[in-house]
Symmetry: C2
Subunit: 126 residues, 2 copies
């Protein structure tokens, strides 16, 4: 990773960590959020670490596996990192579904946290 | 729109404007960017209004039509607006393709500009 810009290293490390924790024990995701973080999950809005983790833990599946197709990272004018992930997920025995997820990361006291997160399944009226 | 939060009004107005201009005359998109804006288009990075508009204008199609499936907007800690769009597009006579696009909007001198933009087609190895 030595040649990659720092925002790409931080963004891709975050993304790897997020899905690893999500897929093994999503009750442990609280440490990446703050009390002000915003999550929009399939159009539903949640704010704050507690509300976000409660939502993620209440999702109606036991097993989940994410597979990343593409991830892009950018630095922002306010020294944040913007990340967009396109991928596929398999929940329990359901069919594989495409998803898209956006994260905004910010550094507080030398730790990167997720201040904003948006998730959508790739469902279109074809 | 009266009951919607201000960030949602601004975000959805921007998104509507962006695709309207993109689909009619994308040479006119320059006014939404600054010299520092970042675009990542299918993994390729561009910085600055001129480079971004040159890229968008060089895309190899004559006619393009976007259709939005879902859009989500959030306020960020630095008074920006984060928007994620999921939709479908039809370029010339090609098949309809899914896409995802993320925008970060910031207010400079009372005008909202796009500081960060990421675009990906929804192509997976199924």
């Amino acid at each position: 990773m030595g040649d990659k810009p720092i925002w790409e290293q931080i963004g891709s490390s975050f993304v790897q960590h997020y899905y690893q924790v999500f897929d093994t024990d999503r009750t442990q995701l609280g440490s990446i959020y703050t009390g002000e973080s915003c999550l929009t999950w399939e159009g539903q809005q949640f704010q704050g670490k507690a509300a976000i983790v409660e939502k993620l833990c209440s999702l109606p599946f036991t097993k989940i596996a994410h597979s990343i197709t593409a991830q892009d990272h950018q630095p922002t004018p306010d020294s944040c990192i913007l990340s967009m992930v396109v991928g596929q997920l398999k929940a329990d025995d359901d069919q594989v579904l495409g998803f898209h997820q956006t994260f905004l990361l910010k550094s507080y006291s030398n730790a990167w946290v997720c201040t904003n997160e948006i998730f959508r399944l790739a469902l279109h009226n074809l």
